[in-house]
Subunit: 322 residues, 2 copies
């Protein structure tokens, strides 16, 4: 299956929305469709397209994996409630932390800890049990490029969900924003009535804050990186960068607290200039701003004695550490 | 024993040198004195004071612990040869790396891996066997302040060297620069004829590059931080900062090399504004300079995919990571 990109300059937003809404209606003339909303731009746009097409026939879940930003699950539910879209929070924190216990290898963390629990155990179970015949998925054009086995993608998604594609004959997956990159997705989101806070949101990784904890992901360690993330996002909200984030290191470094040696945590701040996440370079932030972020983090995040700023390009760095 | 500081503005350099030279001569009217030269300002100044007082009666050792900067042992010997001072290199690399094998705790690394091997096994043996009756030691006023058990210092040094202070009655320790802080030591070094490269040298930690490797200190890992250190020192030589350094993290981060994921090393750069090392703040370096350092490190140091710059003050950070 060849996927043709619709570049942002060729996008007719209203026409695109009408076509996708119509395609969803045709795919599920009766009964339920289902999707997972993470609060990112992609899944938010897909949720609004699905709701416009199907109304209450779309069942939208927000999986609370314990790895989201400060206050995120309820905040997203509130945003969508204002748009008239019901979203159900599913508390899966214990499943995620159980799967992540003792896992330090980054590939295992992403693949087993996150993908498997999300698709098979949690969301897959909801999909299988809710009686839907259509799954809406927020795959975008950059995801297609990054998936080597792109042509097998839809089949893979159903398998990941634990749906036997022979038995579940007729089960459909739609990926309404498959031909769009992020800037185009943002335009569609704005036209659909998403608040700017959501459609202009910096990218956030699939494994959420688990991608920003080096070493074992525990509730306590996620709490540290969540607090640092809140500070970094507040301080850099207006900086105009593509993406900014905080990472908790596993390394401990020597610090001083109240005149005594204190073997403490280190937080790494990254802020990227990029258009497509394929390449990137560190943002030349004012030094006083960086110093202010470091001061807030060591003052407000327990046990942190050291803060760094990443100065590497992608490649050879990646955007995220895990 | 109360130690009175001589502040740099009250220092009469020539008078100070004459007094210390005379004190050394009186302490050892015949026979040998011994000292260890690390190449830092303190031990370099003490070596020149001792040589001026005793000439060939001073036996100076440079302990090659495998943890020094690129090319350092031979370079220091050459510098002192030009000044007419013979220095003997003692190859103790195997002793140091054997003691550091498997040690990851920073306190253990400093105390057992470095202090014990240096004092008891290597330098202590040289002192006991060379027949000297006087040890010259480069302790300065900041060291005194930082040593809680300051009054027991000299006794401790002899014990650390494995010298039984009851049997070795009459064995003396002299600390010629005990009343001086770093800026005063530098002035004395300049007056004694040290090249600027040495008397203006940024501080370097006692445990050398072992203080800049988080996790186990192996010859391979020291080689990585040594290469990064050479780049940082070359790029920041003219920046006017108090101290600048490179740290090898134990954490691995995700990177990209030739389009493939590459789980690589991270180097942290620190550059401090400080007058006395008691407090410090990160230097506001031009962003292009930082970016250039990062580019060189990922290009020239094998396996490094990520470089950060520390933006924390001391406290709560320390100057060094270990």
């Amino acid at each position: 299956m060849d996927v043709r990109e619709i570049p942002v300059q060729e996008l007719n937003v209203e026409e695109f929305i009408s076509e996708q809404v119509e395609a969803i209606r045709q795919a599920v003339p009766e009964g339920l469709a289902v999707n997972a909303l993470s609060g990112g731009v992609d899944s938010s746009v897909v949720t609004l397209l699905g709701h416009r097409a199907l109304g209450e026939r779309l069942k939208t879940y927000f999986i609370e994996n314990g790895l989201m930003r400060e206050g995120e699950p309820q905040h997203i539910v509130d945003v969508f409630a204002k748009l008239g879209v019901p979203v159900e929070i599913v508390d899966a924190r214990s499943e995620f932390f159980a799967a992540l216990k003792g896992v330090t290898d980054p590939e295992l963390k992403r693949d087993k800890g996150i993908t498997q629990v999300f698709y098979k155990d949690v969301f897959g179970k909801l999909v299988r049990e809710c009686g839907a015949k259509l799954l809406l998925q927020g795959t975008n054009y950059t995801d297609v490029e990054e998936t080597v086995a792109g042509v097998k993608r839809q089949h893979n998604i159903l398998e990941q969900l634990g749906i036997d594609t022979r038995q579940a004959y007729g089960y459909k997956v739609l990926e309404p924003i498959l031909q769009l990159r992020k800037p185009a997705v943002r335009q569609v989101g704005e036209a659909l009535g998403l608040p700017e806070e959501i459609f202009a949101r910096p990218p956030f990784p699939g494994p959420a804050l688990a991608a920003r904890v080096i070493g074992e992901v525990t509730p306590e360690r996620v709490a540290l990186v969540r607090a640092a993330t809140a500070i970094v996002e507040a301080e850099l909200a207006d900086c105009g960068a593509f993406q900014y984030l905080a990472i908790l290191h596993e390394d401990r470094v020597t610090g001083l607290r109240d005149g005594k040696r204190d073997f403490g945590h280190q937080i790494e701040v990254r802020c990227w200039d990029s258009t497509d996440a394929v390449t990137g370079s560190p943002t030349d932030l004012p030094f006083a701003l960086l110093r202010g972020i470091a001061d807030r983090i060591v003052a407000e995040v327990p046990g942190v004695v050291s803060v760094t700023y990443n100065i590497t390009t992608k490649p050879p760095s990646c955007i995220e550490a895990v």
